[in-house]
Chain length 392, copies 2
């Protein structure tokens, strides 16, 4: 894994979470990067989300640093706006950059006051630790109920040389399209115009984080950032730019898969593909309904080829189709042919369903080219255990 030039990273324990594990992290770009951003669409938005939007507007989309804390969402509290403002100002001072060039991100419990001194008091030692090699330290510090770090990497060869794309994310529970308690940061050292960067982000998110669901819940803090600092001096053009867009999309898809596979209590990644429907929107409705069905997710947890539940979820998705035109395949095995039970070897399929990645395909035999893919995970007792006592 190679890192894009011009980025440094640091993480520290600031005492925000009870457990002594790094909970404050910094990503710094020199020079300040062009940024494309997407935030939660929840009506309830955390203070850092509001401030990040404001800073991006006033800095015209330039970002010198991202300040991230875990353990507290800084949401629905009396002092949230002030905490976000004080901590980004302190970061700007310690870094010697403009305050509106610092974006805040928070993840953790909602509705608990966050002591701003924990953040401001940690900034000098945090800045002192900045290093181009501490990428994984940040990926670890931003984890909450995640059981493992989520990172991905691509490189793109251009005429002028090679540019790098790296990404990290945190996810786990409360993830669903539009979007997730999900923080994702993707960095490249290519030279990219703001408009092009926005287009790359939108395309990549549509097929990754917006096609991802763990439990159907959407958080107040979701943030996806794509940064391009141009530190490589290489400006991809034409097909090189397309290749860069593809690389960004692959990094985000990889992060989305890792988030689904590490859903709270998950033992399996489930990839749902709906194809042959009237259009992408109809296919996405079906894929999303199947991905969000607790009955499907518990069946997969039990390696049970219960395709009736898959067909039923497609049926209530809102998509319009005749079930007699629909096939269902599980791990490439045809289990439902034209809406009816197909002949298949049940014990053999059960064994295939024990895999750590399970593919569900809902295939329309007639209509069109509408296709969509969704990522989710199985639903196990672990999810309940984690979420029944998260705050205690």
């Amino acid at each position: 894994m190679k890192f894009p030039t011009g980025y440094t990273y640091a993480a520290i324990y600031a005492g925000i979470r009870k457990q002594e594990k790094n909970d404050l992290a910094l990503i710094v770009s020199t020079p300040p990067a062009v940024a494309a951003a997407m935030f939660t669409r929840n009506m309830v938005q955390a203070a850092p989300v509001r401030l990040a939007r404001k800073n991006l507007a006033s800095s015209k989309g330039r970002v010198a640093a991202v300040l991230i804390n875990a353990g507290n969402a800084n949401c629905a509290t009396r002092t949230g706006d002030r905490v976000a403002l004080l901590s980004t100002r302190a970061a700007a001072k310690a870094l010697g950059c403009r305050a509106d060039h610092v974006l805040p991100c928070s993840t953790g419990v909602i509705g608990v006051e966050l002591d701003p001194n924990l953040l401001t008091g940690s900034l000098t030692p945090l800045v002192a630790k900045l290093s181009p090699d501490a990428f994984e330290d940040v990926a670890n510090a931003i984890m909450t109920t995640d059981t493992r770090q989520k990172i991905a990497w691509e490189e793109v060869s251009c005429e002028g040389g090679v540019v790098q794309v790296v990404g990290m994310a945190k996810g786990s529970g409360m993830i669903q399209p539009n979007m997730a308690t999900m923080l994702a940061f993707v960095m490249t050292d290519a030279v990219v115009k703001a408009d092009d960067l926005d287009a790359m982000l939108e395309r990549a998110v549509e097929r990754s984080f917006h096609s991802l669901t763990v439990d159907g819940d959407t958080s107040t803090n979701d943030t996806t950032l794509l940064l391009a600092n141009g530190a490589s001096g290489i400006k991809p053009r034409g097909r090189e730019r397309d290749a860069l867009a593809d690389a960004v999309a692959r990094v985000m898809e990889s992060l989305a898969r890792q988030i689904a596979a590490d859903g709270e209590g998950a033992r399996k990644l489930i990839v749902i593909r709906a194809a042959g429907f009237r259009n992408r929107k109809e296919a996405a409705r079906i894929a999303r309904a199947v991905a969000n069905s607790p009955l499907v997710k518990t069946a997969i947890a039990g390696s049970d080829a219960n395709w009736g539940r898959i067909l039923a979820a497609a049926g209530y998705s809102g998509a319009v189709f005749d079930p007699r035109d629909v096939d269902v395949r599980l791990q490439q095995t045809l289990v439902c042919r034209k809406g009816l039970a197909a002949d298949y070897d049940e014990p053999a399929l059960k064994a295939k369903l024990d895999a750590s990645e399970v593919e569900i395909e809902i295939l329309h035999q007639r209509e069109g080219k509408g296709e969509a893919r969704f990522f989710t995970c199985d639903l196990t007792e672990g999810y309940i255990q984690i979420n029944g006592s998260y705050r205690t």
Copy 2:
């Protein structure tokens, strides 16, 4: 509990489910009743649902008998239509009534062929058992993963005498508005015109079964029937008719609460009330989103006053509001005031949340009179255990 006159009931073990427990049941009305019906809106509809619709059309809404089996949904199979037809014809023959006066209902696993001989061969002994006192036998026979029978009763005093309303339902998992693997049968001996009966059913369902969710899934077999056979000879008019409509609504609300309380793995009934929003539709969006949130449902399972999850679910419901206008109350305790943490005694509230019925209120302080209530249950390890191995 008094029973409406003119109805008889019977249940028998026909060998449809492996476990030797009654799985075939009959409700007979003499004379044939005026019927109002609502069926699943799933695109995938079981054969008995299709035949029941057809019979109601051809009989102009008259019903002499309802034939119900548990253990097999008779859905997505090669022979489903034929099985439904053969079994209702056999019932009509055994009862000496028109075939289109018999409605079939099935509940159980999808996609497994149902042997029609199991049903037709059991009809003579089933009819021989018909009795006005066997109401609860039917309520028990239609259960699948239900842990207890669901019945309710009301009576209405009219000038000409008293009319009775009784209801039974099966529910458990896979329940959600529009509608539920839910079968519900409500019978009265009042004289009611078809149009009035339709209106009564629609109003009662809106505030009961359509305000009920266990896991967000909707089944292929949902059926709610309201029968009025007029056997009492009493025709409620004016305010008496309103009183009858209220009685029907209370019976259905009681059944809906019982279904939620007996959701798969549930230990608690959760009643969600959203009030003060722009209109009922906006309030219902919020109540439904909170009711469907696995994060809220697991928190309540753990008696955790995690109001941030409630606010977040309201935020992604699609309803438009400013969180700073919203209060949240749990068991009458104010936990969130104007979108911020309220002062409350956490251990005392935790104890209150250990109750078998938990009330969540989301209260808008400004806008309007839009109010809605939803019924659901907590989400526990039990749900996963039941649904990970339902077919095995």
